[in-house]
């Protein structure tokens, strides 16, 4: 078989795939008899309304000297770990604003950080292609730096995202620029499984974000530069359970819905979307038209505990609070007093859902909490 022959067949196959994909889309559309918004309205759901002082910035965590790239809350105590371009991880007490640890990193270009479920260790990763684990209880060396307790090396590209498997301090999933996700065993420092990469049905571009299902920790989703999100089962590394198309740009952020049956995504195309993992349907698109024609990409998203609110940070410094049912913007944190001065790069909700933390390129982290009186209607 000659090369030209092969090329022809490849082109034909690609055509068929696109065709099938299109038909699938059509089919989905025809099956979509109602959308959430209509249904919610028909059920008499009133939109969520927030007054200007209902969500207020109650703490500003100052201490980083570089752009903040990532943050994570502990599952129990009100502690936050944040990673910044100044080459440091800082562990904060969110209530007192105190810095509990400041960890100097061997590689300053850090992109992600995560707290372990027990709060005993933190993980971070970045352009050095290594996920480093720091045990917060280990003694500092003579320069006062916390030593790296474990290096998870094996990625061939930057580590863009990492998250501990819930209820386990020993397993961690990373997403990387080498188009793969990896499940690691921290005790041995070895890969347990690799998702994507040379296998079929893996991502075809850099993985930017991952999120593990809170109610079934065997499932996780990943968002990638190939504009898709994929659902994975950690027991079946060979192929993705499902691939979710829909976005027209890189999927920068991905987060499971609290009930574990849906997940949200944020993308370079300026939209956030909600997907259902059981049906594979795209349930909702969250997009607000701007007056001028630039579309700020979504950098980071988070759901409230109930799932009614979706917080989304944008590159222009906006941070919208979306009503997930009615797809309306409830509030823009970027327009409030004491908002960030630069793009919001990361956000996260505390475990009990009482506070939202945002990290920004203006080097600060801010904690937002409900400041009004809850109306009981």
């Amino acid at each position: 078989m000659s090369v030209t022959d092969l090329k022809d067949r490849h082109a034909a196959a690609a055509d068929t795939v696109n065709n099938l994909r299109h038909r699938l889309k059509q089919k989905r559309l025809s099956l979509l008899d109602t959308d959430i918004c209509e249904y919610a309205k028909s059920q008499g759901r009133a939109p969520v309304t927030f007054g200007p002082t209902d969500l207020v910035c109650c703490r500003t965590l100052q201490g980083h000297t570089g752009k903040v790239y990532s943050l994570d809350w502990t599952s129990e105590k009100s502690q936050i770990v944040s990673a910044s371009q100044d080459g440091r991880l800082i562990v904060w007490n969110a209530l007192t604003r105190q810095k509990i640890h400041a960890i100097k990193l061997p590689c300053a270009w850090v992109m992600t950080c995560a707290f372990s479920p027990t709060g005993q260790s933190v993980a971070c990763g970045g352009l050095d292609s290594v996920c480093s684990i720091f045990n917060l209880n280990s003694p500092t060396d003579k320069d006062g730096n916390l030593p790296v307790s474990r290096m998870l090396s094996g990625h061939k590209g930057y580590v863009s995202s990492c998250q501990y498997v819930p209820d386990e301090d020993t397993h961690l999933i990373t997403g990387s620029g080498d188009q793969t996700c990896v499940l690691w065993d921290i005790t041995t420092g070895l890969k347990t499984s690799v998702f994507g990469g040379e296998f079929q049905s893996g991502h075809t571009a850099d993985v930017l974000s991952i999120s593990i299902n809170g109610s079934n920790s065997r499932m996780f989703v990943s968002g990638s530069c190939d504009a898709t999100a994929r659902l994975w089962d950690t027991r079946v590394a060979s192929r993705a359970v499902r691939t979710f198309h829909g976005h027209e740009g890189d999927v920068n952020a991905i987060k499971f819905f609290p009930d574990g049956n849906r997940f949200g995504t944020g993308s370079d195309d300026g939209t956030c979307r909600l997907f259902d993992i059981r049906t594979g349907h795209e349930l909702q698109v969250y997009y607000r038209q701007h007056s001028d024609n630039d579309i700020p990409p979504v950098t980071s998203i988070a759901f409230s505990v109930s799932g009614r609110l979706l917080f989304a940070g944008y590159t222009n410094g906006d941070c919208y609070v979306w009503d997930t049912l009615l797809a309306k913007v409830v509030l823009d944190l970027g327009s409030l007093q004491d908002s960030h001065e630069d793009r919001i790069s990361c956000l996260g909700l505390s475990a009990d859902g009482s506070a939202l933390c945002t990290g920004s390129w203006d080097t600060n982290l801010k904690i937002w909490a409900f400041g009004g009186h809850r109306r009981t209607t």
Partner: protein, 872 residues
Amino acid sequence: MSPAAHDAAQYSFAVEYDGPPLSFDLPRAVPISVDNIPVAAVVSQVPLSDALALPVVQPLLPPQLHHPLRTLGSEPRVSKLASETTVSPTSVIAFDHRASQSNVGELSGELSSSGAVLDDGKESVDFNELNQQDCASTESVLSLEYPSTRVSSLKAEDIDAKRPPVVTFDVDSDDDALNEEFDVEDTASRPVIKRAPLTKGKKGSCYRCFKGNRFTEKEVCLVCDAKYCGNCVLRAMGSMPEGRKCVTCIGFPIDECKRGSLGKCSRMLKRLLNELEVGQIMKAERFCDANQLPPECVCVNGQLLSYEELVTLQNCANPPKKLKPGNYWYDRASGLWGKEGQKPSKIISPHLNVGGPIQPDASNGNTQVFINGREITKVELRMLQLAGVPCAGNPHFWVNEDGSYREEGQRNTRGYIWGKAGTKLVCAFLSLPVPSKSSNSLGEQPSSLASRTIPDYLEHGIVQKLLLVGCSGSGTSTIFKQAKILYKSVPFSEDEHENIKLTIQSNVYAYLGILLEGRERYEDEILGNLRKRQSSVLDTAGTSSKLDDKTVYSIGPRLKAFSDWLLKTMVSGKLDAIFPAATREYAPLIEELWNDAAIKATYERRSELEMLPSVASYFLERAVKILRTDYEPSDLDILYAEGVTSSNGVACVEFSFPQSASEETIDTTDRHDLVRYQLIRVHARGLGENCKWLEMFEDVEMVIFCVSLSDYDQFSVDGNGCLTNKMILSRKFFETIVTHPTFEQMDFLLILNKFDLFEEKIEQVPLTKCEWFSDFQPIISRNRPNSNSNSINNNPSLGQLASHYIAVKFKRLYSSLTGRKLFVSPVKGLEPGSVDAALKYAKEILKWNEERPNFSLSEYSMYSTEASSFSH
């Protein structure tokens, strides 16, 4: 025990007199008795002065100099000065505080309302309340303080009114006076106004609450010497933005005799504040501008220092410790340093451009023996004699920083002063300085900047980042390694060395594998041809001769087995896992393999093996040596090796350019030589238009883009699977990087790498092979022989012409994209000098950028003739 009491003890009768009243604890008795003393004191100093020569001079000389400065205690002045100084700073500060307080109040109010929502609302509320309380208390203190200082100053006036001014002078600052007598006697004329404390209580009491006695623990203001007890210190000194100073003294230079205590925390402060706060205060105290040594107080070889000179002096490798104001002499050749009129106290870094020339009588010697033009002291002469230096006949010595000495006017070194172990002992005994280990025993050049420690407040901030990018194969890794070898004293740690060794070894196995694969292919080809011919022969002749399988490319069964096994492991991708470990076992086999004729024949045809990189031949030719277990990679091996710099992710190296000897003599104080540079090398992979992490590098000062010149005839598969010229790929990549929003205002330096390869190649392959360069028509006058001209412009080689042409191509592209000018430097990555020159060029560009406003346009264009010469 306060120093005042200590000094008082020197007056023998005063002790007897002072004791009883204290036990009676009659506060009034002391001032009254003190009143009487001044008369007595002046008298009593005269008889004492018989023993001491200095005290006589002191009271006579100072009246003109000291009196106007020091007699702040006299009534009219104190009332005026004190009221002035108290009113302005405190009122302003108090106002500021109050303003900020109101702000805090607002904020905290908000906090409490919002904090309540958090789960731990209570905690946060508590916190806020505390905060507010604190605010309130400090506010009340501040508002109280203002009147109280007034009151107290009034009080002080009252007291002053009762007693003559001399008394206060004596009581409160006699320790200073004495200190100064010995420490700062020669800087009496310096124009620093000494501040006196605003208020004074009775001797030994706190200056603010007037409680306590001399035994209570107190903190002292660094400027005015006011002493405060634990209850008052925080109120009197506020937040201490410049360390332990009264609020009114902030901004004033510190009392020089307290320089020694800078940054040394007292127990009291530690008790009052938490560790972090104390640390911050101590840091502020040491490093804030107001507390730095004023340069005009230090005089070296009879010349007052300028600011730059002082910085040079303090930041040299071996600075004089605890520099105090005063007159010093400094012997530049040997680095000897001492107080004027005294023997040397220390050996500091030599050759510093500080102060004037040394005077013969700098150390006030009378031995008629000279070292570097300075008459040495008796002690030094004694040391020289003990060290075995012949000193007969009053010789004039010339001593270098390493201790080598020669007689003036002679060339040969006579010996080393500190060469013998005993000499150091003698020096210690005579309390003479010896050269410090770091500067001498290692034999380092004191000018080598790489090894010298820069104080951290200087180190912070001035790290200039250079981002090194380029397509794969453009030699970024080589340049990175070269920089490491050039500028780091230890380029690679032991671990790294070991890793490099393993990498090189497994690379060699991989090359061998490619070679063996090629051998198989060649063998098959030949056998195929043979068979074809044979079959055709068979057809015509009809005779079946036994096929002779032996070709040039056949190998023995043992090697064949090894080859099969090696190829199999290569295919399975486990080469890295198996190989370096199995080296011991296979090394002899490799030797045999390499010497095999078949492999040699294959190696001859290596150009046909596309997989084999060009560097492979370098390593294959050394394969036998490299695959030994005791192999140590040389610098060149490391430069050639692939995959040493982590191929994924980033690598960075921090360095500073070592000073060359010529630069050093011109300007040692040049700030740029202290600047550290960070060369960051990122891999091209994923550095596309939509790169998510290029934004992380927006703080770099310059992007160095690397292009391999020899790529113009090479092809590679691009993102869409098409075969594209590598030069075109580089251009595409260049375009995306240059137009990336992160690098909008960035300077770019284009490195045209592999110039050496290019020069060779251009003779064989025309540049027009790459479609971008299709209009390259070199005009070369072939009739003129090369040797005739020594200037490049007269008769440039084809390679030079072509590289200039490519440079212009890139420059035009760059200016069409950005409208700015591109800096270009042709480099041979394997030659240290060439890379060094390119990086120095980068440094110069950064320097120009800083100084650009200072240059007139014409000057600037003159400086950059090299860069602009190719932009037609």
